[in-house]
Subunit: 346 residues, 2 copies
């Protein structure tokens, strides 16, 4: 029996010696189509032939060639995700949620890192489109309007993540960054702080929205001026938080509370306060954003906004899969909210 041999060496073909569906079919004594069906739609094949095919697959160590399937079926089972950063726990949590939603349905993730650049995001999307993704998950809010347009023209479903966009057509899952920034500032005001500073990094769309919420709350409280904002384009790190604390105290020494646009900056600011002997919150209140795991454990524990990152990823992926399968979503935008975690630091 040379059933076991793949059809290598025959003719002048450029066969790569890989086991193909035809090899499986030959081994099982059925046609390629039956072998194909036995794997992708087993219920349409008689139990007897199905078993023979399964045995052939096992015997030959057959692996589906997805390039061929994608070419023939125009479906890739690939979903493209564009995230701004791998080193930000926020996005890796989102990624975990996406994976958990997608894995059981057999979708593969194609992840690209935009490094917070809208231009990069657009370039990467085009590169990814070459892989015929069935759908796209977008996290940048800046360029995503144009991208959504482009994707719609190509008939590729897309879901935006983290913030809620203005365009009501756009599928999206997240929460209002603006409102969250507002809520945190209101909290500080309620606790009696009046000279509240804001430090922001990265300057991505989400940070800017939070800053707007901060300004609005101050305005409403009649505390518009003077400005105590410090915004830099560098990536958020603990070290940057430590540095920005120093710079803030230099330009606004009367500051009594500091709203950090994310937890990493807050940690750095608090550590720096400790080194300088500035008591938190007695001398200076400090709060963060995102509620990363250390926030609950630091001393003082860190007041922050808990964001439903995992759930955002999970729900966004679920929504995307519905769109791919042609289900008309009942809601196009899902607001998952956020929670103020009032702790010791502010």
């Amino acid at each position: 029996m040379n059933d076991m041999m793949p059809s290598a060496g025959s003719g002048k073909g450029r066969s790569r010696g890989r086991v193909t569906l035809a090899d499986v079919a030959r081994h099982a004594g059925v046609s390629s189509m039956t072998a194909s069906r036995a794997m992708s739609a087993p219920e349409t094949v008689s139990p007897e032939l199905r078993l023979r095919v399964e045995q052939a697959v096992a015997a030959l160590g057959y692996l589906l060639n997805r390039a061929a399937r994608a070419l023939a079926s125009a479906r890739s089972s690939v979903i493209t995700v564009l995230i701004p950063s791998f080193s930000n726990a926020v996005f890796t949590d989102v990624l975990a949620g996406i994976q958990d939603a997608l894995d059981p349905r057999g979708y593969q993730l194609l992840i690209s890192n935009t490094r917070y650049s809208d231009a990069e995001e657009e370039k990467l999307l085009n590169a990814n489109l070459q892989y015929n993704p069935d759908g796209v998950l977008l996290t940048g809010m800046g360029s995503s309007e144009g991208l959504h347009h482009q994707l719609r023209a190509r008939g590729i479903p897309a879901v935006s993540i983290m913030d809620l966009p203005d365009d009501p057509e756009q599928l999206a899952v997240g929460f209002s960054q603006h409102e969250a920034g507002y809520t945190m500032t209101r909290h500080l005001l309620k606790r009696g702080y009046r000279r509240i500073g804001f430090i922001g990094a990265q300057l991505d769309a989400r940070t800017l929205k939070r800053a707007e919420g901060y300004r609005q709350a101050l305005q409403e409280a009649g505390l518009g001026a003077p400005s105590r904002e410090l915004m830099v384009a560098d990536p958020s790190t603990v070290a940057l938080g430590a540095e920005l604390l120093g710079r803030m105290l230099a330009i606004a020494p009367d500051c009594d509370a500091l709203f950090c646009c994310n937890d990493d900056l807050a940690y750095g600011a608090i550590y720096q306060c400790q080194r300088r002997g500035i008591e938190v919150p007695a001398k200076l209140a400090v709060c963060g954003f995102n509620d990363l795991p250390p926030s609950a454990w630091m001393n003082p524990s860190v007041t922050t906004i808990a964001t439903p990152r995992y759930r955002i990823g999970f729900e966004a992926a679920t929504l995307l899969m519905q769109a791919i399968e042609g289900v008309e979503p009942t809601v196009r935008q899902i607001d998952l909210g956020y929670t103020l975690m009032a702790r010791e630091s502010a």
Copy 2:
């Protein structure tokens, strides 16, 4: 001129209305092959025709179909990466290095999350093989011997990451986890600590190697017994570090130093000490592993082992690309070492 129209609706084909290479060729008045060459090997096409093709591409908004290319050329430009976790900064740093090495060479990453499970790793590898990856990057050390074997059989190059394997054939980039664990313990001994505990989580291969190094150092110092080890399978978190500190002090109240198998655990342990009024390092020294960014900033700053994560990713990807392109590597295993960061906490 109906040049502009893709060849849709003609015949009974299942054309998807997508712009194809043939459309570009027709628009430019050249053959498909010339169009193909103009994109993938521009220098082999006359400047005139090249320009016409480029214009046609722009005019039609052509996108390469990588499934078709992979099928025709047996090369996918895809590289599969299997990592144990997205939420561990160690692996996201590695990922960043991989990306920086791969992006300029036009490779796409297919990332899968094994969740620290060897079984999952094997399953995911098979799923990924369906995408015809040109190469594979492996981070688990447990199952990777079998996997390397399987990959070699299929002719797919693979590089192991993080530790240095026993099999000298296996391509790998990393450092000796065992030796690093040994070095850290020696440091504690030199500082005069004698009743050194070890807490470990996740229990992946790397943690176990570090624990072995710890034991060896104690043995050599004649301090083999009693054991002050606490190993749990849960994922490493700050919260777990806090909990394990409590459990360690319960079973070994005489402990004078604590070697945490990674920084997250160390942070939790230190925070817990602060809450209990245990001075670090005066009453209890605590050290970590990896040198994540907060380690330098905490109070006390954390003694730990700095690991070249980004470089490991970068070098591993570089080595893999060489292997893919048929370059015989001069060294099959690259040891990037590690650095002891002696700070305040131990």
